[in-house]
């Protein structure tokens, strides 16, 4: 028994060497994933998209400090993002006009401090309530700040916002930050630092108590913690990192305007975090990357990509609330047993009918769109390069057939997947 105690305590204090290597190895791999891609994909679009991903990752991770870690659902997180951007822009302009030696890499920190200041101010009021009331309050405060942007024109610049020039600050090592690739590496560096800091936060006493308050705020009171104060602190730290993301955005776009506060901005970070998976640290990272990618790519394919987004979100809320990260981690026991292939085969069987069904749904949506708002442009359209007329029965019949047929076939594969899972799980777990 004593032996078991010391071994366990040892594990708690000094993890075994393979675990340490895995831990640092993961961070090195992440760093590589930031450094390498721009050397491979050199186009302007790619660089812009990767920069946007970096900003979104920081923003989404800060949001998950509230949602996944502390159980706080906020509909107005863009407030701290936007305020961070404004503080960054004003600081940059002040440095330019006064000639102060402020290098650009420090600016996101200014954004973070701006976000933090207002998180303290608003957080003190917001965290008086929890749950649904907190969510509604966050919505109200977001409206308050967004509307104030048009009233306080001197700070917020009215409808046009406030612009700046990132190349005119003090240059270190002769880096002007004019070219997109230099901005990308700045964003990537900050993103990596923020990821490490936010991850470490989850492992601090406060971070752990955030989880406790999420799971059972009543019980947390009886182990000596004030749940409201825990939530307030989490809110402040989250506001800081949201402000950093805002500062990075201000540098990237060289402008801060009221769109930063918009409901769309708050909604998108919620969608990204949830779709990625709020139960795991790397969930929002995946979500931010996926959503950024889809936003850029899908908008070329269809004008109503936001509708597909919303439908994806609802589907995931209903059927896969654990998000992409959760779905991946669900397969970890199978990975340990080297039994993934069994299930993969079943998935491969289910994929075609599912795609057919989805194609049918997309067809209906696109046709409806064509016949309503775009009616002026006539009923002729193409779908995956197939031309047809949207107001003719054959098109609708085809769509109906795709949906119904696809669903029936898809449904037939469900027992096959279930059986594959049972088969895979029955395999003995391999020794670690």
């Amino acid at each position: 028994m004593i032996e078991a105690l010391t071994v366990r305590a040892g594990l708690a204090v000094r993890p075994a060497v393979p675990v340490v290597i895995a831990h640092y190895g993961t961070w090195i791999a992440v760093a590589v994933m930031f450094v390498v891609p721009p050397l491979v994909f050199r186009s302007g679009t790619a660089l812009t998209m990767m920069s946007l991903m970096g900003i979104s990752i920081v923003f989404a991770l800060s949001y998950n400090m509230l949602l996944g870690q502390t159980g706080m659902l906020s509909f107005g997180h863009a407030v701290y993002f936007g305020l961070g951007a404004y503080f960054a822009v004003h600081c940059m302009n002040a440095a330019i006009t006064s000639g102060l030696p402020v290098p650009l890499p420090i600016i996101p920190l200014v954004g973070g401090l701006g976000g933090l200041a207002f998180a303290i101010l608003f957080g003190w009021v917001s965290t008086k309530r929890s749950g649904t009331a907190f969510a509604m309050i966050s919505l109200g405060l977001a409206e308050l700040v967004g509307s104030s942007a048009l009233i306080l024109r001197s700070f917020f610049g009215g409808e046009e916002g406030v612009t700046t020039d990132r190349t005119r600050l003090l240059r270190l090592f002769d880096i002007s930050f004019g070219p997109q690739i230099e901005v990308y590496y700045l964003i990537a560096a900050w993103c990596l630092v923020c990821m490490v800091l936010m991850y470490k936060f989850t492992r601090t006493p406060l971070g752990r108590m955030c989880n406790a308050v999420r799971d059972n705020s009543e019980r947390a009171q009886f182990v000596g913690y004030n749940p409201q104060f825990v939530r307030f602190l989490a809110f402040c730290v989250s506001g800081f990192f949201a402000g950093v993301a805002g500062g990075l955005a201000a540098i990237h776009f060289e402008i801060a305007n009221s769109a930063y506060f918009s409901a769309t901005q708050s909604g998108n970070v919620l969608l990204a975090t949830f779709i990625g998976g709020s139960g795991y640290f790397f969930g929002p990272v995946i979500g931010a990357a996926v959503v950024s990618y889809l936003q850029v790519m899908l908008s070329d394919v269809t004008e109503i990509w936001q509708l597909y987004f919303g439908l994806l979100f609802i589907t995931m809320v209903m059927f896969a609330p654990q998000g992409i990260a959760g779905l991946l981690m669900m397969h970890r026991p199978l990975w340990r047993r080297r039994a993934l292939l069994k299930v993969a085969a079943a998935y491969a069987l289910a994929l075609p009918p599912a795609l057919v069904m989805l194609a049918g749904i997309a067809l209906v949506i696109e046709m409806t769109y064509r016949l309503s708002v775009k009616a002026a442009e006539g009923p002729h359209m193409t779908f995956f390069s197939v031309p047809f007329a949207a107001d003719q029965p054959p098109a609708w019949l085809t769509a109906g057939l795709l949906i119904v047929g696809g669903f029936i076939l898809f449904r037939l594969t469900w027992p096959i997947i279930a059986a594959a899972w049972v088969n895979a799980e029955s395999r003995k777990e391999l020794a670690q």
Partner: protein, 316 residues
Amino acid sequence: MLELVIISILNGVQFGMLLFLMASGLTLIFSMMGVLNFAHASFYMLGAFFGFQIARWLGFWPALLIAPALVGIIGALVERYGLRNVHRQGHVPELLFTFGLAYVIEEVVQMIWGKAPVDFRVPALLDFPAFTIFTTNYPAYKLLMLLTSAGIFLVLFIVLTRTRIGLVIQAALSHPHMVAHLGHNVPLVFMSVFGVGSALAAIAGVIAGPALVTQSNMAGLLGPILFVVVVVGGLGSLAGAFAASLLIGLVQTFAVSVNTSLADVFAFAHVTPSPGSILGDLWTVTLAQIAPILPYLLLVMVLILKPTGLWGTRET
């Protein structure tokens, strides 16, 4: 001056009643099912657009009956096939589901009717001034709005307090589990309440559509105010929702007509903060300009002074 006050009171009460028409449905749904329906304002918007479309085909009066019924059915279906499945996952997923629903409804409305306002006109039958107060004409249509809201409240009040189903609903408001144990078909009650609540929001949409602007951002504009109403009134309290609706309706209507700023008030002191600063902005902004954010300032004040809301009974 008196004319302005009377007109503002009439308009304020009318706006407040419109808010309460929606807030009552929202409160009923929240009290019974524990979920705050983020898509409630979206049902209001659907009511307005369905009303507009049906009015174009069949006329305003059929639209007034058909559109809310359609939206009510949609609401019931949403509860039956969507919300009920998410319900067992907890409150946060429920709220997320209704949030996603609001998002999708807005996109669908934009897809079908576009982003510009649609021409939802007051029916010709009512397009005349009902009476004149001093020099201002009070449109008959607004009188209809007032009468419809009042009529619906009366019906609601009678149903809730004098009928058997009303008693069941009142019981389920405070003790939903107990009501289920007593053998009432709670899922059916839930579906009905959700459907009726949505229909109420849709009625508000149909009658508000011609008076206010019918546009795809309607839900986004009215939604936050609606949620402020329920939080300020106290989540789960119908009386609180009523009082808060009237309060916010009156405050906003009165504020919009006041074109004075701090600078005007303190003009005698000859104090002028520099125009390009934040203080300068605050000094010269008129009450009318900040009218849209007054509800949110009220929210912050209530949160500081009485966090559970003015009539608050339940903590979420």
